[in-house]
Subunit: 342 residues, 2 copies
DNA sequence: AATTAGCACTCGACTAATTAGAGTGCTAAT
DNA sequence: ATTAGCACTCTAATTAGTCGAGTGCTAATT
């Protein structure tokens, strides 16, 4: 347990270091308005804090730098918990600008987040667990190509172009569409492969000549694409941080960013409320020098997506946490509003 | 005019520098198999080349480095012109992997280009001057929302979610769809706004109650999105180049890359055949340290898109030019094949 | 006349050596 | 319990010194 004085000093150190990225010395701390101790006293406190592992020296006669344990304490005890109804009306503003579609709104949100914070932002989803097939259609483009279009109740449109197998003719295609619409209507997206494999396959066997080819394409179309999208913004922001003065770090950062699956995985761990993972707390090696702050947004009770901000461990936690909290609320509200009539 | 010997030496210098990124000295050159002069002779030739501006010294006693004029000469006179029918079957391979859609093929092509070359690749388009509306559809998702889907003869599917205005009912929507399909079928994409403004507007006025609202949404849907897309790949490759050891350079590079419009503009200057712009020949300040190689691809006689590769001025021109030439041909062929049945 | 060997010279890259300054820990005074 | 004072430590910046790759020029060689 830390004394009030230790907490104060720790807070001042971290606040200062977040701003300056420079080791903080006793004199600097002593000069702050809310600190009324001499450098010597502060040095004693700092020695204690160091012994407990909250701060570190970069070398034997340097000022102190927060350790990961220090940041953890800071995040857990030294910053105010975001209040329920913080709003920044970000999404409202986006909609006012004339963006009505999920995809665009999410994209814009990511951009704004990264602009405000100067970190890299991720938004995952929304993954619609409630997503069901609304309509299926095949539009032929030419004698040899066609596109199959799937519309869900959430307004998500998936499409895939394919070559029409030689032995299939227009009436066959029509039959296929009819079978699909009949059997897949209102089926949740994740159940499609299963349905395809059982009922649909059997029906096609009965009614469509040479069903194998077309069945193969359908499978490919519905299996391959994973409908949850990841939006990344502010990839270049990290370059502004003074700790990124090392080419090797930059390289590994960009390598990591290009690997969208890994990032999606990180975000899938997000849960209701703000979650802060600092440095080595991160599972992924490539971001062990970073802090990741995530939260989720819901539709009703169900979590459907996640938001994340990645920055240096020396992150503006206070600002970012408040912000993410607000945005998460706004995303949830938007979704709720969107679906309230369904 | 350069003598044969000067050309040889210049070529050797550039070839070596492209590989090593290090200033080339007379001894190094002298050791090459195809060079049979002593270092002293080569030094004389180099002095001449320097006087003529083809090579430079980094300091008074360093080896030589190609100047932009040197690269220009190299590109114009010292590398073989790509032969007509170079093929690498890149796109064929992509299609064999099961990608049939334009968008995917183009995306993949960009990825492969950047993988092979280790530079950053851009592909613009295809801008379908020949793109026509194949089918339009409105699917209602709920009493208050619907999605409008547009399919083109190229397999491009565009969709937009919108809220249904209060006063519009299902039968109105049906009428709208009918009018749209009737009037817009086979209309080139770029003519849609015009058509909407004239015929469609009038018809809607006549047949649909309260057409204004819905007309507004339609306009927004079809105006907003610009259908020419830019695909970028290999953004991190540039970090592998030894000349990018300077954070400032990296920063300005990434700033530039994020500005897609500027890049699209650069690519729009591409023309039939390979075009190489070296260093300061580039209009855009941010890439005055780079070389950009562009080419276009056609559908019939018409240029519909462009391909570009951005790398250091010390680029593997020979390899890249051959490659781009081949890919451009393949893209054109693919488009041609695609449309021959339409 | 063209080529090459020889040599003095230049300059960057690297390695010590030196110094200044910020910051510490400890002791003794308040 | 707090603080002033001071010796000590370590980095960052500067300077000096050395090495070697490479040049330009001159004179010898082919």
């Amino acid at each position: 347990m830390l004394t009030a004085r230790q907490m104060l000093i720790l807070q001042v150190i971290i606040d200062d270091f977040i701003k300056s990225a420079q080791p903080v010395g006793s004199r600097t701390i002593s000069k702050k308005d809310n600190v009324s101790y001499s450098p010597a006293t502060i040095r004693n406190v700092m020695a204690d804090l160091e012994e407990m592992g909250y701060i570190e020296k970069t070398h034997s006669s340097s000022g102190r730098v927060p350790s990961e344990k220090g940041y953890r304490y800071y995040v857990d005890h030294l910053i105010p918990f975001p209040t329920k109804d913080d709003k920044i009306n970000m999404i409202e503003d986006i909609i006012k600008e004339g963006y009505f579609e999920f995809e665009q709104i999410v994209q814009k949100s990511a951009e704004i987040l990264s602009d405000i914070t100067n970190y890299t932002s991720f938004i995952l989803g929304p993954a619609m667990f409630e997503t069901r097939v609304k309509q299926l259609q095949i539009v032929t483009l030419s004698p040899t190509t066609a596109v199959v279009i799937l519309v869900t109740n959430t307004g998500y449109v998936e499409n895939r172009t394919f070559s029409i197998p030689d032995k299939i003719n227009a009436s066959d295609l029509e039959k296929v569409v009819n079978i699909l619409n009949d059997r897949l209507y209102d089926v949740p997206l994740e159940k499609i492969p299963e349905k395809l494999n059982s009922e649909v396959k059997d029906l096609m066997k009965t009614y469509v000549r040479d069903f194998r080819e077309i069945y193969k394409y359908l499978r490919a179309a519905f299996f391959s694409e994973q409908p949850v999208k990841l939006y990344i913004s502010g990839k270049a922001n990290i370059l502004m941080q003074p700790e990124f003065n090392d080419i090797e770090k930059i390289r590994s950062f960009y390598m990591m960013i290009e690997n969208e699956e890994k990032i999606a995985e990180l975000l899938k761990d997000a849960s209701d409320g703000i979650k802060v993972t600092i440095g080595n707390e991160n599972k992924l090696d490539a971001i062990k020098d970073f802090s990741l702050i995530t939260t989720s947004y819901q539709l009703g009770e169900e979590q459907v997506g996640a938001i994340g901000l990645l920055g240096p461990t020396r992150m503006e936690y206070k600002k970012v946490i408040t912000l993410l909290h607000a945005v998460s609320n706004e995303m949830s509200d938007m979704l709720h509003f969107w679906f309230k009539n369904n």
